[in-house]
């Protein structure tokens, strides 16, 4: 809406009145933000790249928070009969660890990549709703901080990340922790819904000419599947959380069996969301690996349509397996049988992906760079997690494994070994594109091997512990149970993972310093890669593409560089320097920064505190939200006062049509003028959430 394509030049040079129009500040309160540097440029930004980087930084911060909680858990369990944490505190720590890792690390880190890369991979200048993009970041961040503030305000949630009733009820959890859980997740859910709508529309609507759906890179495809899953999964957890809030704060009894409610309803609602959520977390990493492996094998992805199709199949089938989390709940033989079968079936598309990655590597000229190492790590580790997952599909076995460390081992192999390893690979792969310098290769290898070894030491023994019968969510064990040795090994492994994260942070700092001292630009295409984002300079210019590319084939950029000779052998047909973009844009029209998303988002946690502590707190929150929405409506998505190019702020009017048409006395009219897009609509959408 805010991005005017090159194909429609702005007719800057043809006769319009060169007098700049008066640009009234929106509502006369705030001047339109203009900063291009410093913290202001980040706070106001609507640029998908800056938003992506902020998602990344914030999720990494929460990775450290959640990792610290994990270390506390492991320390507590390192020796039998440990009294480091009380049972109550232990409940809070593992709950906060789980929720933090799921909703504040894996999901937003995937969002970071999705935000940064989807527009680049489909050849767009930004997402379809740039301000809504900023809104989803700020709402998510506000919700995450709100949720974690529970540590300081009476203790964290203590019901496990899936927070089963009746434990989640006021009777068994009288503190405010679960209230923070419910409202924090509701707030983050609003942010995720906004972002899911935004990215779905972006993928459907903002593709470059010629970029048909089946020419999109696999990463974009997988993220598209994820966004659609989010669109449909989030309202289900929203219902569950609303009912929980009504139970805890307004005296209803939806999940209270003693008053006629049904704790089962929570389990069903939670897992109808929760199982698609598993794929929401892992598919983005699958997408990244599907980008990295072809590049470092120098072969196209094997079976692209099957790669895409299996992703879609996973997305669909993910809706039909939720009750395999509930085999031990006594829901009846028929249900157990049906969900056993569907769970076995969903292993098929996942297996297709793994075999396709291996077939991509087969016969390729593999280069074991750090991103590739992480990708191979994902393929291996996720396969282990997938296989232990298949063992859960057999209900009799699963009844034995339920609530043991075997389950903990399984989902860490899937989410750490799958999602996190993939995203670490993604960081190394796209770092030069994002920041204009490489991460250290040697340190990166240390990082990878430490992480792989630490990960296997931590979670591998949990298979054994679980099969021996060690229960999860129990704060200690006795020395006669025979769990001591593997628990100690697991704790040592956890500290090795911590060390690997420190290595990564050191890598970030030192590679940046090295770059400062001796700047060497990696060039547009440091890996000899395949998709569109490598066609533009590194770091990505603010306007992404000076000229929107016209796409003819899948792996367009690769096909511009390479062709085949008569024997079918790969030959270079053009030098990379000749293919990458170098032209300087003059008519690029970028969406203008805005305060309003931040204002709107700030109101949300205030309403949350109001609901929990004192309704008066909600008043400023509601005022901020309403002000945010109406400020947003009254503000054109593109500042009439902003310039055109990335650096030419020469104050010419952006909207010649509006200037010509609007009578002088209806200056306000320009605020929601035709070419400024339907700002009203965008905001109304926010309104309706």
């Amino acid at each position: 809406m805010a991005i005017i394509e090159d194909q429609r030049p702005l007719e800057l040079t043809t006769g319009h009145d060169p007098v700049a129009p008066e640009a009234p500040s929106p509502l006369g309160v705030f001047a339109r933000p203009k900063a291009n540097t410093g913290w202001r440029s980040w706070v106001n930004t609507v640029d998908h790249k800056k938003i992506g980087i902020m998602y990344g930084v914030a999720s990494f911060f929460f990775l450290l928070v959640g990792g610290f909680e994990a270390l506390l858990i492991r320390l507590q369990l390192s020796v039998p009969g440990n009294q480091l944490l009380s049972a109550d505190l232990y409940n809070q720590v593992f709950t906060m660890h789980g929720v933090t890792m799921v909703f504040m690390v894996i999901m937003p880190m995937a969002s970071a990549f999705a935000n940064y890369l989807i527009p680049l991979q489909i050849g767009a200048r930004d997402v379809s709703f740039p301000r809504m993009n900023a809104l989803s970041l700020w709402i998510w961040l506000a919700g995450a901080i709100f949720f974690n503030s529970s540590w300081l305000l009476g203790g964290g949630a203590d019901g496990g990340w899936f927070n089963y009733a009746p434990n989640a009820g006021v009777t068994f959890s009288p503190g405010t922790g679960i209230d923070f859980y419910a409202i924090g997740l509701l707030i983050m859910g609003i942010g995720s819904t906004v972002s899911a709508v935004n990215l779905t529309v972006t993928v459907l609507n903002m593709r470059a000419p010629g970029m048909t759906l089946m020419k999109m890179p696999v990463f974009t495809w997988m993220n598209f599947v994820v966004q659609v899953l989010l669109v449909f999964a989030l309202p289900v957890i929203t219902v569950a959380l609303l009912l929980l809030t009504l139970d805890r704060m307004f005296g209803a009894a939806f999940f209270d069996a003693s008053k006629g409610g049904d704790p089962f309803l929570w389990e069903h609602l939670f897992w109808i969301f929760g199982h698609p959520e598993v794929y929401i977390m892992v598919l983005p990493a699958f997408g990244m690996v599907s980008e990295i492996i072809p590049v470092f094998s120098r072969k196209p992805i094997f079976g692209y349509p099957f790669m895409v199709g299996s992703g879609i199949a996973i997305g669909f089938m993910g809706w039909g397996v939720w009750a395999h989390h509930m085999f031990a709940s006594g829901m009846g033989q028929l249900s157990v049988l049906a969900f056993s079968l569907s769970t076995l079936f969903i292993a098929v598309p996942t297996g297709v992906k793994i075999l396709n990655w291996m077939a991509t590597m087969y016969g390729g000229r593999i280069k074991f760079s750090v991103p590739m190492l992480f990708s191979i790590g994902l393929v291996g580790m996720f396969t282990i997690g997938g296989l232990s997952g298949v063992t859960h599909a057999f209900a009799p076995a699963d009844t034995q494994q339920t609530d043991t460390y075997y389950i903990v081992a399984h989902f860490h192999y899937v989410l750490f070994g799958g999602a996190l390893l993939g995203m670490m690979g993604g960081l190394y792969f796209w770092w030069p594109k994002m920041f204009g310098h490489f991460l250290g290769e040697r340190t990166g290898k240390w990082h990878f091997w430490l992480m792989l070894v630490g990960f296997n030491l931590t979670f591998g023994p949990m298979h054994i512990l679980g099969l021996q019968g060690m229960m999860r969510r129990t704060y200690t064990y006795t020395s006669v149970q025979g769990f001591s040795m593997w628990n100690m090994v697991s704790t040592i492994g956890a500290f090795i993972i911590a060390l690997s994260l420190l290595t990564f942070m050191g890598n970030v700092v030192f590679s940046y310093r090295k770059h400062r001292k001796n700047p060497v630009n990696p060039g547009a295409d440091p890996w000899d890669a395949r998709s569109l984002e490598w066609m533009i300079p590194s770091p990505t210019p603010e306007y992404n593409f000076a000229e929107i590319p016209v796409v003819e084939e899948f792996d367009e950029f690769w096909h511009r560089k390479y062709g085949h000779d008569e024997n079918g052998r790969l030959v270079r047909i053009a030098k990379t320097e000749d293919v990458v973009e170098s032209s300087d844009p003059v008519t690029v029209h970028l969406p203008s920064p805005s305060y309003w998303p931040l204002v709107l988002a700030l109101g949300m946690p205030l309403v949350g505190y109001g609901l929990i502590f004192n309704l008066w707190w909600a008043v400023p929150g509601v005022i901020l939200i309403v002000a945010g929405i109406y400020g947003w409506v009254m503000e054109p998505s593109t500042d009439p006062d902003a310039g055109h190019g990335h650096d030419d702020h020469h104050g010419e009017p952006d909207e010649p049509e509006a200037t010509e048409l609007a009578a002088p006395e209806t200056v306000e009219a320009e605020l929601v003028s035709a070419s400024a897009g339907s700002t009203g609509v965008t905001a109304e959408e926010g309104d309706s959430k």
Binding site: E5, Q7, N205, P235, F254, L265, L661, E684
Partner: protein, 210 residues
């Protein structure tokens, strides 16, 4: 006199975005469709909750509260009337969209106002109905799980109507100050029709099916 510029009229037939979006549907409209798809599951979850609980009020003597179902007190003729009012508001919404496409701002304002008023009447009916349940029949939100789920479901729908009315009134206000985009009204219309359709479902499932 029309405040709509000629260019905007042209945009109605050939919206700008057709040239710039891959699907040919504008971002705003597609975004609203995607959001409404998401909203379907919100109501789906709430309707399921009601269906699970509607027949189990006061099952556990002395513990689970009031033994009456909320459905015992439904006033079907009254609710049919408010449902009819809400359905008619869809008609006026269509007329509003039609007026803005023709550039007829006077009629746009008339139909926007009527839609908002009809929505308000529906809300008034809902408030009357709720009050009736609470005051005359003694069935409040916390009386039993059946009434909790009834109030939660119809309340959620009511909140959607309130948001819709606010959007309609905002559109009305915008139509006085600025040149309003036909598509903005159309997108609000999408939302409004969705809320109506959901009510048709709720009315059928909750009120009509015993």
């Amino acid at each position: 006199m029309s405040d709509l510029a000629y260019e905007s009229l042209e945009d109605v037939e050939f919206p700008d975005d057709i040239h710039t979006t891959s699907t040919g549907i504008s971002n705003e409209k597609l975004g609203m469709w995607v959001y409404l798809a998401s909203d379907c599951l919100l109501f789906g979850g709430m309707i399921s909750t009601y269906l699970i609980y509607k027949n189990r009020p006061g099952e556990i003597a002395g513990l689970s509260g009031n033994t009456h179902k909320v459905s015992e007190y439904f006033d079907i003729p009254f609710t049919s009337m408010t449902s009819f009012i809400l359905l008619m508001s869809s008609l006026t919404m269509v007329l509003a969209v039609n007026s803005v496409i023709r550039g007829d701002l006077t009629r746009l304002r008339l139909w926007l106002t009527s839609t908002a008023v009809l929505g308000g009447l529906f809300l008034g009916g809902q408030i009357y109905e709720f009050t009736n349940f609470v005051v005359n029949d003694g069935l409040g939100f916390t009386s039993n799980v059946a009434s909790s789920s009834f109030f939660a479901l119809t309340g959620l729908h009511g909140v959607h109507v309130v948001v819709g009315v606010i959007m309609l009134l905002s559109m009305l206000a915008i139509s006085f100050g600025t040149r309003i985009r036909a598509e903005a009204v159309e997108v609000v219309g999408l939302y409004w029709h969705f809320v109506d359709i959901v009510w048709v479902l709720i009315f059928t499932i909750v009120y009509l099916i015993p």
